[in-house]
């Protein structure tokens, strides 16, 4: 492909629809459009003003970037207290600085970057980040906010370049950039210590590099091609490393790649070896590279977090042995279980926790009114149990008795150390899983009845063997009813302190829920052995932390009678999120999309579907379109289609999710939706201008249309900017408030 050199009107029009390559390509494409624009104004000679046009394009990009940075960094320090989820992510940044281990449902990259930004900007990790509204005082928080705002500011130029590449039209790109710059929602979300700006940065970077390498398709294996392809891979790893939502952009790139390969495979001029090379390049850059980077972030994560912290209990005993400060770290405990030992029992299914009991009874009407038995994820004295023989009550720790080991198949009794009640089950239904039996603490000072007897069995073991601490996978079978002790993993209501339900299941299916291991083991009569042999390998750690994250994510279930944001609320901007402040004296920030922008986006999606299907049907019917219309249709169907796919992939999967959803989950989709709006209106206006070509002012339609959309977005931003930059004074319900006229929906409460 020769570089664009201007030329006649028809030629430049045609060329502008074709692909370009690399960084020069961006310039070349832009130049094309510029020449096109130049060619339209008959007075200006195209060739002579080339240099000027190129400079103009760069200036425009710089302007867009500058405006984006200016809006994002304006009043960044306000408010000087914790807003919304800063309490989580700021806290997690501090954990990295303090190197204490914690658990979160998202992969670590985003929080690691926040921690790094804090570290580099002189934050020492001492602020507690306890709850929204806490003042930062002297703590340095601007580094972290600045970092997020920095990444968030790049969204606008990225969207600008993506649209420019897809539509080859400056005006479409400008429109998109304006919509995003002037959207109060994107602005608000970029100004705080949150994962979203980081996530969206990587999503848009992946989209941009994908579009770029697509337009390099005519120069495969060239340096820019490799550059954009591997940059796509890197951004994918970044997106997935911040939140699992990154999977959607991976899906999009994957679909695009499959279509691409399918196209190459059908090109009979390419040999199979060449196709194989293409395939290998993509496997390397889009699968191997991202996976390696993603794994590397976890490696760094585990390396940095080497101290014991609040997340320990979520992980298996073996995992905890690697954390310094944990009682299993460098610990030495007796190897074989013996009668009289004080133990904690941990469920083998991840993120269930320890067998636990406490001095609270099951409420009336829920089984027998006996002491609750639950599982609990945190370390606690109430997790301690004493293992005793079923038939004697003599103290086995009495030095006059010899040590007696517990063996596979023994009948035992488990006495709760703090309350001296026995682990007990009976024919009452369990509180939540009605088909299982209830498990309680029963008896006084260790004296109960025959329902306290359990047979201890090691999975896959023959009769009579000793039971190893941490290693042996044990089951506890209730002697009278024949059921197996297990945890259903369901969260008990308030009366159970939202710990997890423990039941005795009559269905003897072998699931991890009913398999336990012994973790802590205290027995003064036995010699201790070192536990360092237990250290898990890195793949095991990786797998385990993913299982825990997935369980954690699906555990975020909404409760009944609680307001939850529904996916259908989002595109219509039905309800915002309160970032800061409630009362009229507070400094209030409210996350809400700029309604003008959002409703325009919504309208555009409908309009796109309509116009897209009309054009598709016309083409399928074999209608002969004039060259210009055919070009515009291609932009609409190809470029628009790709962006629409992005919107679909980032929006509809939320309908299938059972977890709690929030308004801010829509923002990645909103970016795609804004790009679609840019492409659609530009193309429609051009079509309109073409259709009315006989009319003298037809060319003006396009300019006027784009200008009025730009001004509309800017004006609405002027109206709504207090939402993002903060407002004090009466609430909008109050007619005196300056925002009173802007409360267009009753559901907005700012």
């Amino acid at each position: 492909m020769p570089p664009a050199t201007g030329g006649g009107l028809a030629e430049s029009e045609l060329r502008s629809r074709r692909g370009r390559c690399g960084p020069q390509a961006a310039r070349a494409a832009g130049r094309d459009v510029a020449t096109e624009a130049a060619a339209r104004s008959p007075k200006r000679p195209a060739r002579g003003s080339q240099r000027f046009e190129a400079a103009g394009r760069w200036a425009l990009l710089a302007l867009v970037t500058l405006l984006s940075f200016a809006t994002r960094f304006h009043r960044l320090a306000e408010p000087r207290h914790i807003c919304w989820d800063e309490t989580h992510f700021g806290k997690m940044g501090s954990y990295y600085i303090n190197r204490t281990f914690f658990f979160d449902v998202h992969p670590p990259l985003g929080k690691m970057l926040i921690g790094l930004a804090g570290y580099l900007s002189g934050y020492d990790g001492t602020f507690l980040f306890q709850k929204p509204g806490d003042k930062y005082e002297h703590h340095s928080y601007m580094g972290m906010r600045g970092f997020c705002a920095f990444l968030g500011s790049w969204l606008v130029p990225f969207a600008y370049l993506t649209v420019l590449d897809l539509s080859k039209s400056l005006s479409a790109a400008l429109l998109t950039a304006a919509l995003l710059t002037f959207d109060t929602g994107c602005l608000t979300l970029s100004q705080y210590i949150l994962l979203d700006p980081i996530l969206m940065f990587f999503i848009m970077a992946a989209m941009l590099s994908m579009v770029k390498y697509n337009s390099c398709a005519n120069r495969p294996f060239s340096a820019p091609w490799w550059f954009w392809l591997s940059l796509t891979g890197v951004s994918l790893a970044g997106a997935l490393g911040v939140k699992f939502v990154g999977l959607f952009i991976i899906l999009q790139v994957g679909l695009n790649t499959i279509a691409d390969l399918w196209h190459l495979f059908g090109d009979l001029s390419l040999s199979l070896v060449t196709v194989g090379k293409h395939l290998t390049a993509r496997v390397l850059c889009l699968i191997v590279l991202p996976l390696a980077l993603y794994t590397a972030t976890f490696a760094v994560h585990f390396m940095v977090l080497s101290k014991s912290g609040p997340g320990d209990g979520f992980f298996s005993s073996a995992f905890q042995a690697r954390l310094s400060g944990n009682n299993l770290h460098n610990a030495s405990i007796p190897e074989h279980l013996a009668y009289g030992s004080v133990i904690t029992v941990k469920n083998l299914r991840m993120a269930i926790g320890y067998l636990h009991s406490h001095r609270h009874l099951y409420p009336e009407g829920i089984g027998a009114r006996q002491q609750q038995v639950t599982t609990y994820l945190h370390k606690d004295y109430n997790n301690l149990w004493i293992i005793k023989k079923h038939n004697t009550n003599s103290d086995p720790l009495d030095p006059s008795f010899p040590v007696e080991f517990v063996r596979h198949g023994d009948i035992i009794r488990l006495e709760h150390k703090e309350t001296s009640r026995n682990l007990h089950s009976h024919y009452h239904e369990a509180p939540l899983t009605r088909k299982h039996y209830q498990v309680t603490g029963y008896g006084i000072n260790g004296t109960g009845d025959s329902n306290d007897f359990w047979r201890i069995e090691v999975v896959n073991r023959k009769f009579g063997n000793r039971i190893k601490v941490l290693r042996s996978r044990i089951r506890l079978i209730h002697l009278v009813t024949g059921c197996v002790l297990g945890s259903s993993g369901k969260v008990l209501p308030k009366w159970g302190w939202e710990q997890l339900e423990v039941t005795c299941t009559p269905y003897l299916k072998e699931t991890l829920n009913s398999i336990w291991n012994v973790e802590d083991h205290i027995n003064p009569k036995l010699p201790n052995i070192s536990l360092n042999v237990l250290q898990p390998s890195f793949p095991e750690i990786l797998l385990e932390s993913h299982m825990v994250m997935i369980r954690g994510n699906s555990g975020l279930k909404p409760k009944d009678n609680e307001f939850t944001s529904k996916p259908w609320h989002w595109p219509i901007n039905y309800q915002g999120l309160r970032f800061s402040g409630i009362n009229d004296t507070d400094f209030r920030v409210y996350l809400l999309g700029n309604p003008v922008v959002w409703w325009l986006n919504l309208l555009s999606i409908a309009l796109y579907l309509l116009s897209g299907s009309i054009i598709a049907i016309a083409i399928q019917r074999g209608a002969q379109l004039p060259a210009e219309v055919a070009g515009l249709s291609q932009v609409l169907l190809r470029g628009g289609g790709q962006v629409l796919l992005g919107w679909t992939l980032h929006y509809f999967p939320f309908f299938l999710m059972g977890r709690v959803l929030y308004f801010h989950h829509y923002f990645p989709a909103m970016l795609f939706s804004s790009m679609l709006t840019g492409i659609l209106w530009d193309t429609l206006l051009r079509l309109c201008a073409w259709g009315l070509a006989s009319w003298p002012l037809a060319r003006g339609i396009h300019v006027v249309g784009i200008l009025s959309l730009l001004l509309g977005a800017a004006y609405s931003f002027y109206l709504f900017h207090p939402l993002a930059y903060g407002m004090v004074g009466p609430l909008a319900q109050d007619p005196q408030s300056p925002m009173a006229g802007l409360r267009w929906l009753d559901s907005w409460d700012f």
Binding site: F265, L272, Q575, I582, Q620, G622, Q733
Partner: protein, 703 residues
């Protein structure tokens, strides 16, 4: 005109004897000893109840699907003259003589039997050989799980029948009607829509047709595939609601308005209430959300405890709760804040949207109040109480603004049953809300009512409707109490339109979630493909004769294999075609693609959605998908024989292998027969021998 007298009357019948034979065998296998066992088998206990409801015309709600399937079963009961009197309480209960077991089980069995010849026709319509078609039908015939499932009062066989019918009719005329049995029927419907859409898209691209002609074609398809199913779907609900006009056990789930449209139940109470709520009206207020249980706004003499368990304090005023039972303490009087009287003036002054009201508790004459005190269980919300004047500096704040949520205009009148209203507290803008939490013992485990300060949008737990209503007439408290105790009586009858009732019923069916309880025989979709699970349906009370839902393992395994072969071969062909190597002639390729799209696609749409479902799943959910696998089997076999066997010798060897394989399937079917029909008591030893997989649960009596 009398010409027929002059010529002989000739009837030329073209009877496909194999079709007749298949039908005959199908009937024989499905109808043989249909009344055995004369006891409730597995899910009959569940469907039987619904049949009884139909017979007694009692309204019920089942979230498993639209009512057509239940109506088919009930038709059997109707034809057999069943009066609905049977206690469907446990599996294995012997049927009493008034239960026409044969006719109840007849329709599913017929549907199961007719699926056999239908499979034959479908494969034939896909343009595969007569031999392949016979193969598909014979496989359907000996599939043990299909036999078991169609011999009982269960819906799967009817569902499979209509699935196949839809495929067949689309194939025959590109014109399909879809019936809804269970929502699983949707899957096949979606597949048919997709196939039809692809065909239509090709039609649009066919430039030999005129625009008008294409438009007519598309219109006809839209009518046949979209309009007719929707109309039929509505029709089923229409018949369902016409048939079930009496109130029953599921009333509570529905809204007051729906309940009032049923005979008996709430209608008996609300019949003839005055429509418009006026100042002075006595009302009961039901929460619209109704979760965790439907309940009414309630108050009683007891007060909130001074100090809660966790050390927080309360206002110590009279408790306001939500109570799930009818009670005289559920009555409230709508009072005009400007007047003292608690009676309706003459003429009555109706309450409108935006009016200020006080709600006075009927039995205690204290008025509903909320203030800036934390609620007992939801400390972020305000406590709601009935105001007691302790003469401390805590004034009454008992003014509420009425907001009608479903109003047509801003001057709408508050109507009993129909209006959904919110009460917004005037002083604090808190909204009266059911929090869903159960109060502790001091609140008699009733539900907590709070004032929600942050009124974030609309939620049903904040919305109330008047259920019982009358105009209060008694001036004196004594007299009023007597009045409250007596049932309301006036006369206006009010019926909901069909569409309103349909929409509500549909909505409730979609959102009603039966608690996903684990069942002894529940299984996960992954176990189905390889038949790693079974369901014990019935065990003879004395002998060890038993019925299991257990498939013919040879067919299941080879069906899955055929699917894998189909997928791999298709991928291979596709890649080769992309490189311009055409292994198959064009017509064979199109046949292969269409057969795959319908059979493999049918399997996928009937199977994969189960991975997304959170409800309890059973092996029988896989049966519709299985039938599509069975249809695919002979297709793949014929394809291998026609296109992959290169010589006559190979072809003969392959045919011999197929025959051997089919004989082994027959053998397996015969071996498992005692567990399919349950007609033979096997010894423990024989039963053990049948337990081919460790995961199969076959019942062996211990003596």
């Amino acid at each position: 005109m009398w010409g027929f007298l002059k010529r002989p009357i000739v009837v030329t019948a073209d009877i496909n004897l194999s079709l007749v034979a298949l039908t005959g065998m199908g009937l024989l296998s499905r109808l043989w000893r249909l009344t055995y066992p004369p006891a409730v088998v597995f899910d009959e206990v569940y469907y039987g109840q619904y049949i009884s409801f139909y017979m007694k015309r009692i309204f019920f709600l089942d979230d498993s699907g639209p009512p057509f399937g239940h109506m088919v079963l009930a038709l059997g009961g109707y034809l057999g003259g069943f009066d609905g009197h049977f206690l469907w309480n446990r599996i294995g209960a012997e049927y009493s003589s008034n239960v026409p077991v044969w006719s109840l089980r007849l329709l599913p069995a017929l549907a199961g039997a007719l699926s056999v010849p239908m499979a034959y026709q479908i494969v034939l319509e896909l343009h595969f050989s007569h031999c392949a078609a016979m193969g598909a039908a014979l496989l359907m015939l000996i599939e043990n799980a299909l036999i078991t499932q169609s011999r009982l009062m269960l819906l799967e066989s009817v569902l499979i029948f209509f699935n196949l019918l839809a495929v067949l009719s689309y194939l025959k005329f590109f014109n399909c009607q879809k019936h809804s049995i269970k929502y699983m029927g949707m899957f096949t419907y979606v597949l048919m829509l997709a196939v039809a859409a692809v065909h239509a898209w090709h039609l649009i691209g066919d430039q030999t047709l005129s625009n008008v002609c294409v438009f007519c074609h598309l219109l006809a398809r839209a009518v046949a595939l979209l309009v007719i199913p929707v109309v039929l779907y509505l029709l089923f609900f229409y018949v369902h609601l016409i048939l079930l006009f009496r109130s029953g056990p599921h009333d509570q789930i529905m809204s007051s308005a729906f309940q009032a449209s049923l005979e008996g139940g709430l209608a008996r109470i609300t019949q003839g209430q005055p429509l418009e709520v006026a100042f002075g009206s006595q009302v009961t207020l039901r929460n619209v959300f109704g979760k965790p249980v439907p309940c009414w706004l309630h108050s009683h003499q007891d007060t909130y405890p001074m100090i809660y368990e966790n050390g927080r304090g309360s206002s110590h005023q009279q408790q306001v709760t939500c109570y799930p039972f009818k009670d005289v303490n559920n009555w409230w009087i709508v009072k005009n804040p400007g007047r003292h009287q608690l009676v309706v003036s003459s003429p009555p002054r109706p309450v409108r949207h935006g009016d200020m009201v006080q709600l006075v508790h009927g039995m205690t004459t204290r008025s509903l109040n909320t203030h800036d005190v934390a609620a007992p269980l939801s400390p972020h919300s305000q406590e709601v109480s009935c105001y007691i004047d302790y003469n401390i500096s805590m004034p009454a704040q008992n003014l509420w603004r009425l907001e009608i949520v479903n109003r047509g205009s801003d001057t709408d009148v508050w109507k009993t049953i129909l209006s959904e209203v919110r009460f917004v507290h005037v002083n604090t803008s808190a909204v009266l809300k059911l929090s869903g939490a159960h109060l502790p013992d001091w609140g008699y485990r009733q539900l907590e009512i709070v004032g929600e300060k942050l009124s974030r949008g609309y939620h049903e737990s904040m919305v109330w409707n008047v259920e019982e209503h009358r105009y209060g007439a008694s001036q004196e408290q004594r007299e009023r109490e007597r009045e409250l105790h007596s049932p309301a009586q006036v006369d206006v009858s009010r019926n909901l339109s069909f569409m309103a009732r349909f929409l509500e019923l549909q909505w409730k069916m979609l959102v009603l979630r039966s608690d996903d309880s684990e069942h002894k025989y529940s299984s996960s979709p992954l176990e189905w493909v390889t038949l790693d699970t079974n369901i014990a349906y019935w065990l003879h009370p004395r002998t060890s004769a038993q019925i299991h839902l257990l498939g013919n393992i040879v067919i299941w395994i080879s069906g899955s294999l055929a699917l894998a072969i189909y997928a791999l071969l298709s991928l291979w062909y596709l890649l080769r075609r992309r490189r311009n190597v055409h292994d198959l002639p064009q017509d064979a390729w199109l046949r292969w693609v269409l057969a795959g799209a319908l059979c493999a696609g049918g399997w996928a749409v009937n199977y994969l959605p189960f991975f997304l479902m959170e409800k309890t799943l059973f092996l029988y959910h896989y049966l519709p998908a299985l039938t599509f696998q069975i249809l695919l089997l002979p297709v793949v076999l014929q394809h291998i024989s026609d296109h992959l066997c290169r010589s006559q010798l190979q072809r003969s060897v392959f045919s011999a292998l197929v025959v051997a394989w089919y004989s082994s399937a027959c053998h397996v079917s015969h071996t498992l027969r005692p567990l399919t029909y349950g007609d033979k008591s096997l010894s423990p030893h024989e039963l053990k021998a049948l337990r081919w997989k460790d995961s199969w649960d076959i019942l062996i009596r211990k003596h």
